[in-house]
Symmetry: C2
């Protein structure tokens, strides 16, 4: 909310609620999921406002789109606009991770391909510890 305000945006109910829902979610949510949850708190919110808030949060790098085999329309809140994600394929729980271990691989591919490599996306998929426990029962 601070960041929105700092960038000249007004603090409104639809924005507050959309931000809160995204900030508290451990798994990526799409516009329609956010809308369903938001209506519980603020019945008159419009789906359009959710879309518009998502747009602004993405511009400000406060959320990022999450790409999965099933689709790419969900967003997760993150602090940096960066792209290393670890996603649970059971429950959707999503974590960020750091890793500069890629430099060597990137250097090798760069050499072999003659590309100048500028950016990378890395996503790991697996089963989180909660879902591992549930599975073993």
């Amino acid at each position: 909310m601070e960041c929105l305000q700092a960038n000249g945006y007004r603090l409104t109910n639809p924005r507050r609620i959309t931000v809160e829902i995204l900030a508290n979610s451990k798994r990526p949510l799409n516009a329609s999921e956010i809308y369903q949850l938001a209506k519980e708190q603020y019945a008159k919110i419009g789906l359009v406002s959710v879309y518009r808030t998502i747009e602004k949060l993405e511009e400000l790098n406060l959320i990022q789109r999450v790409h999965k085999p099933e689709g790419c329309h969900a967003y997760i809140a993150g602090f940096t606009g960066h792209q290393h994600l670890l996603i649970c394929t059971k429950c959707g729980k999503t974590e960020f991770f750091e890793g500069d271990d890629l430099q060597q691989l990137i250097a090798r591919v760069s050499l072999e391909s003659n590309f100048i490599i500028q950016d990378h996306w890395l996503t790991l998929f697996g089963i989180c510890s909660d879902c591992q426990q549930k599975q073993s029962h």
Copy 2:
């Protein structure tokens, strides 16, 4: 085409042309782009057949969906159903690369997160050698 036939699918004009266009493209194409190109060779082709052929090729792991910041509706032909891509952000030229250098990183993240990691997606973005040359003129 062989693989389609081996899986019990008929060899039809719309399929032949869709397959040919995808097989010869160096950059990912979406349904509508394929349709435009296909019409040049076979005017009466329908966009629906392109969608249906894409669906089957994806099932057979002959093509894969390419995820980019601008969108995720384009497909590239590949030999394995796997996910290491190198994409030119200027012209879209897309190459595959191998790399098991990730094992160490995956092991580390697995330990730190308590996830059992099963799969990964890695995409590198950069400028291909053709586009580097064009730029320097």
